[in-house]
Amino acid sequence: MSYYFAIIGTQDNPLFEYDFGTSKQGGDGIARFTEQARQLNQFIIHSSLDIVEEVQWTNGQMYLKLIDRFFTSYISCFLTASNIKFLLLHQPPSSSSSSGLPASSGASTLTSSSSTTLGQHPPTSTSTSSLSVIPSLSTLTGGGNSSTTTLVGGGTSRTSTSIAANPTSPQTEEAIRNFFTEVYENYVKAIMSPFYKTNMEIRSPVFRARVAAAGRKYL
């Protein structure tokens, strides 16, 4: 499982980014993105900002849960009160990510797939419709997961409840919620520094270390 975490400012400008891998089940906490995926991640996150804007008015929650999906990349979102967006892209283990990512197909696949992802959300999305996306995603991943496990075989230690294997499970949702909550607390402390100005890039090494710690703890 690889993660890419980004904080996006009010002008859709990036304030902070950090990628890491899972630390659960013997993971070493290093992201397993390919060089290509690394660059793609920023585009995926950016494209999901549209969905954030749709979903954010449908409920009063700060944690918007899973909002978008691009092949095997899942995007969860957390909004702060000042409309700063925390976006976490998570990608199930590499066996599926390498096959799922369009390694050769390039831009045409990119645009067509992103339009289908957008198509899942009607423009006038209510809370029920945004919820309905999640079961449909889970059926998709359910299929994807079974094929993955048959491919990998019984040798893997991952159980069906593991966060890594099920990007849409309630356990994952809860783990990401905990992660976001902890990052949010530290984010508030970071921006309370008098030398920080709104929408400025967060350069604090202390904050980065704390995000890393939160990632190790929950994901």
């Binding site: 402390k189 970071a190 309370m192 520094s193 008098p194 030398f195 920080y196 350069r203 604090s204 202390v206």
Partner: protein
Amino acid sequence: MSASKASRLGEETRIEKVNAELVVLTYGTIVAQICKDFEKDYSQVNKQLDKMGYNIGLRLIEDYLAKSNTMRRCSNFRETAEMIAKVGFKIFLNVTPTITNWTSDSKQFSLVFDENPLADFVELPDDGRAQDELWFSNILCGVLRGALEMVQMQVETHFISDVLRGNDTTEMRVTLVRYIDDELPPEDD
């Protein structure tokens, strides 16, 4: 005066409380603004903070004397240090710095701050100079200088380490320069 009596003095007085974050953010904003105004000339910023503190200290001593009920002159500089740390800082910042590193002539000591309420949340700008040049809490130096001057003590104060800069402790050095002699009012004739 014994140490326990001194610490009780700081406790006893009923002081109006102010939200710490309000103070922290206000002070932080002032420092950040001064840094901006002086275009990151940090030695100038230190000087300005010290000057602001000095002007505060000149008045604050009156407040201190009223609140602490110590209408008695300290007999020596060691006692003064004790009162500064255990009564003064207790009243105004609700912290009690440790007094250490006395020189043998009892004219120089260090105040070591275990916690610095002014510096909560603060991270110095990472422009490569602030870490070496800015004394974020330099206003405290000015306050001490101003306050002690009003009670006939000329002192020199400066920070020698700060946790914000990555040091282990926050330490302020206070040096007694001289006791200012009482000046007689000009004679009538």
